[in-house]
């Protein structure tokens, strides 16, 4: 046990020292920002949970049944999330971490290394799920007016559920790594988990769970209650956790202890199973991960015909950039996520019940179209932050090749800009045009949206590339995470500021054109001058937003040479 604790000590110390050495504003700022976002989310979840549960309790006969049904759904979803989180984390902790070479060189039994890494993985993969479900469970305790026994039951049930989920995840990983190397496995699981999430989201949207609180749509109350009361399988760990928490809510002490005992004994059993499995398979899987990567599909390198019109040095940069991007498997999942984001974004507009709104539809459609511009541009900012901002840092330690190459840095940055600009422009225009079609906006709003986006996309992408060049981190293990650094924060703030400024400047002229058009009144010369002036300033701002960040990025990057 001492050895396991010793193996865990560096991890513990890293966390402690991480807080002590956070003196740079970037880290402190990030900590404050994340803390603030976390608190708002936590508070929001608690408030919503209290309101929903109080509403349920107010419904006669079926109020508690609804509450328990919701509890069961939360536990099943959390358990699924815990398993997926455990798979991803344990792959890193057990097979891919850089310190594993050192750890495996210690004179320590393999199973002890495994136990230490598994404990670390369990904590890392489950703390967030537990922390963010806690406000919901606390709300249950408050609404059901329970005592300390409930909170003890809750804590013990959640911990055992996390241990079971983590053990199940790591068991799957250990077996799978024997067949597929861990580095490929991680991409496959990330991809699958995202796919799983999207399917669940779409399934929930199609099921319309809000109808559950509207018993009138069922043929009879009896059918409705039967549907709600259908019990879960007694073999599921979530059922034991559910029964324990339910007993805690109802104050049934003996029943609660009984269900907790089942859950904990299974957790203990799982622990022994994974330790025994690790004894046989962990080292084999780890060794297999260390062997050289082999390409699944080998092909002779060929020139891109699409880019053949470009001058050679520009084509060289562009081809390199595109090849590296698409061969990096971590990008695939991100691309998939963006695809899903587009579908969900457009689907949500399709689901808007405009006809039920008390506001006149034509106003609402155009107001939404205007707000939609901002929303789509914020989505663009997030995507730019994920892809374009880390583009310079993604050169990593190979940046010496660019530094020593007979090509100016300006060219290098502008090529990066165009590589991201074109697809991001396409993405934003698809979002805008598709949602505007769904909203059935006026041709004026459609044209305005398209033009605004056309002028703002290059500015936002230039900010991403320029600020990414100004605050590069060539030593980052994962350059995509650089967007959470100080430079990334500056990019996000400036981009949001630009979008806000342009939309505010557009709001006045657009309102005038729209209202005067609706009333059939011609615009006065003053109004025309006001509109033309506003759009001219927006045009100038858009151009400056392209040039200034790129120049700033180039200058800052050049300063690295001196």
């Amino acid at each position: 046990m001492n050895t396991v604790l010793t193996l865990l000590r560096p991890r513990f110390k890293t966390i402690m020292n991480g807080g002590r050495s956070n003196t740079r504003f970037g880290r402190v700022g990030k900590f404050i920002l994340l803390g603030l976002i976390g608190s708002i989310l936590w508070g929001g979840l608690y408030t919503v949970s209290i309101r929903v549960l109080s509403y349920f309790r107010g419904i006669e006969e079926i109020g508690d049944i609804l509450g328990f049904k919701l509890l069961s759904m939360i536990l099943i979803t959390s358990f699924a999330l815990l398993i997926f989180s455990s798979i991803i984390t344990s792959l890193s902790k057990l097979y891919l971490s850089r310190d594993l070479f050192l750890v495996h060189s210690f004179p320590v039994a393999g199973y002890k290394v495994f136990i230490a890494r598994w404990i670390d993985s369990t904590v890392e993969s489950s703390w967030m799920v537990i922390v963010f479900t806690l406000p919901v469970f606390i709300a249950y305790g408050v609404v059901f007016n329970t005592g300390i026994f409930y909170y003890m039951c809750l804590l013990l049930a959640l911990i055992s559920l996390s241990i079971i989920a983590s053990a199940a995840g790591v068991f799957l990983v250990m077996i799978s790594v024997i067949i597929i190397p861990a580095n490929r496995m991680k991409s496959i699981f990330v991809f699958l988990s995202l796919f799983f999430f999207i399917i669940i989201y779409i399934a929930i949207r199609f099921l319309k769970p809000e109808l559950l609180v509207d018993p009138e749509i069922f043929d009879s109350v009896l059918i409705y209650i039967t549907v709600l009361q259908t019990p879960s399988s007694p073999l599921l760990p979530t059922t034991w956790a559910f029964d324990a928490i339910k007993a805690g809510l109802n104050g049934h002490l003996a029943e609660g202890i009984y269900h907790l005992a089942i859950s904990w004994s299974f957790a203990g059993c799982m622990f022994f199973i994974i330790v025994m499995t690790a004894d046989s398979f962990y080292t084999i899987g780890f060794s297999k991960t260390q062997t050289a990567h082999v390409r699944l599909i080998k092909s002779k390198s060929s020139r891109s015909l699409v880019l053949s019109f470009l001058p050679r040095s520009i084509r060289a940069f562009a081809e390199k950039e595109i090849k590296i991007f698409f061969r990096d498997q971590t990008q695939w999942t991100q691309l998939f996520l963006i695809g899903a984001l587009i579908v969900i974004y457009i689907y949500n507009f399709n689901a808007l019940p405009l006809e039920k709104s008390p506001i006149k539809t034509v106003y609402l459609q155009n107001l939404l179209a205007f707000l939609n511009m901002g929303l789509a541009l914020f989505v663009l900012t997030a995507v730019t932050g994920r892809f374009a901002y880390p583009a310079v840092s993604a050169e990593k330690s190979a940046f010496w090749i660019i530094e020593s190459a007979p090509a100016p840095l300006k060219k290098f940055l502008w090529i990066k800009f165009f590589i991201y600009y074109l697809p991001l422009l396409l993405l934003t225009q698809i979002l805008i045009v598709a949602t505007n079609i769904l909203l059935q906006v006026t041709p004026f709003m459609m044209v305005l949206s398209i033009i605004t986006v056309f002028f703002l996309v290059p500015g936002i992408v230039a900010m991403g590339i320029g600020l990414g060049a100004a605050f590069p981190d060539f030593k980052a293990e994962n350059p995509t995470q650089t967007v959470t650094s100080f430079g990334g924060l500056v990019f996000m703030i400036l981009s949001a500021g630009l979008i806000g400024l342009v939309l505010i400047m557009e709001a006045g002229p657009v309102y005038k054109i729209f209202i005067f058009g609706l009333r059939g009144i011609p615009l006065s010369l003053y109004n025309w001058l006001y509109i033309a002036g506003s759009f001219f300033i927006i045009f100038v701002i858009s151009i400056l937003a392209i040039i200034l960040p790129m120049k700033f990025g180039e200058k800052s990057l050049s300063r690295r040479f001196s």
Binding site: A292, H293, V294, R295, K298, S299, K300, S301, R303, R312, S313, R315, A316, F317, E319, K320, K323, I324, R327, D328, K396, S397, A398, W400, I401, E403, S404, A405, P406, A407, P408, F561, S562
Partner: protein, 247 residues
């Protein structure tokens, strides 16, 4: 071919290179030796155009690197001490990428790249991603890419690190052969036997200053040693300098 005039490089209060001047003739193999932290890599980075000096000038093939950075860099084959490359490109793709940047004639490029890969025993790996290469293979790939555009000057930092004895021998022969064909080679090294074997002249840098230059014989004279290898010369020269600095 290479001319460094009064190069100084400061990092805040620390002077990494102090008023360094030297010139290397066409077809000469120049060795640059010195203790850790003496300023070798900084000097090499300045020569390669990767770092700008605080003051002084660098000329490569009569081109001032400050005024004509792209043209001057085009004449250089730059080989850093650590072989960081684009992991997701294949060896062949990396060679094509650098040859495009350096403007190597496209006609016959594939054959030329294959020849270089074969020379460095990488032909069988040409279509594998660089992420699967060992340290030595990456180092050899950088050599191949640095030679592909027929540079007039090769600047190389610690060329033998990570290479096996066969590759070390091959590189030594290659440098001698290239120098015979008029290519100027500037290399920093800790492997003093390599410097002794192939360098026409050697420069010793200590605390950013060039404390001695010349052939091995010249250096022995300067170190007041007659019967000793370069290692002893190196130790004597640097300790003499340390004593002088202390005084």
């Amino acid at each position: 071919m290479i001319e460094l005039k009064n190069i100084t490089k400061k990092y805040a209060d620390f002077t990494a290179v102090d008023n360094l001047s030297l010139s290397v003739r066409k077809g000469e193999v120049f060795g640059f030796i010195g203790p850790n932290g003496a300023g070798k890599t900084t000097t090499i980075k300045i020569m390669g155009g990767v770092l700008k000096p605080t003051s002084g000038s660098v000329k490569i093939a009569d081109l001032d690197i400050k005024d004509h950075p792209e043209a001057a860099k085009g004449k250089i084959g730059f080989i850093p001490d650590r072989p960081y490359l684009y992991e997701k490109l294949t060896g062949m793709e990396f060679l094509k990428f650098t040859s495009d940047l350096y403007g190597v004639t496209e006609n016959g490029l594939e054959k030329k790249a294959e020849k270089e890969l074969e020379r460095f025993s990488l032909l069988d790996w040409s279509n594998e991603l660089i992420e699967s290469y060992s340290h030595g293979m990456r180092q050899r790939l950088i050599f191949a890419s640095a030679l592909l555009h027929d540079p007039e000057v090769i600047i190389v930092d610690e060329p033998m690190v990570g290479l096996d004895p066969m590759a070390i021998m091959m590189i030594k022969d290659l440098f001698v052969d290239l120098a015979k064909r008029g290519v100027t080679i500037f290399m920093s090294t800790h492997t003093l036997t390599v410097a002794e074997d192939i360098c026409d002249r050697i420069g010793v840098i200590h605390r950013g200053r060039l404390i001695a230059t010349g052939t091995t014989e010249d250096l022995k004279r300067e170190a007041r040693i007659t019967e000793a290898d370069l290692e002893k010369v190196f130790i004597n020269l640097t300790s003499q300098q340390e004593q002088a600095d202390a005084a």
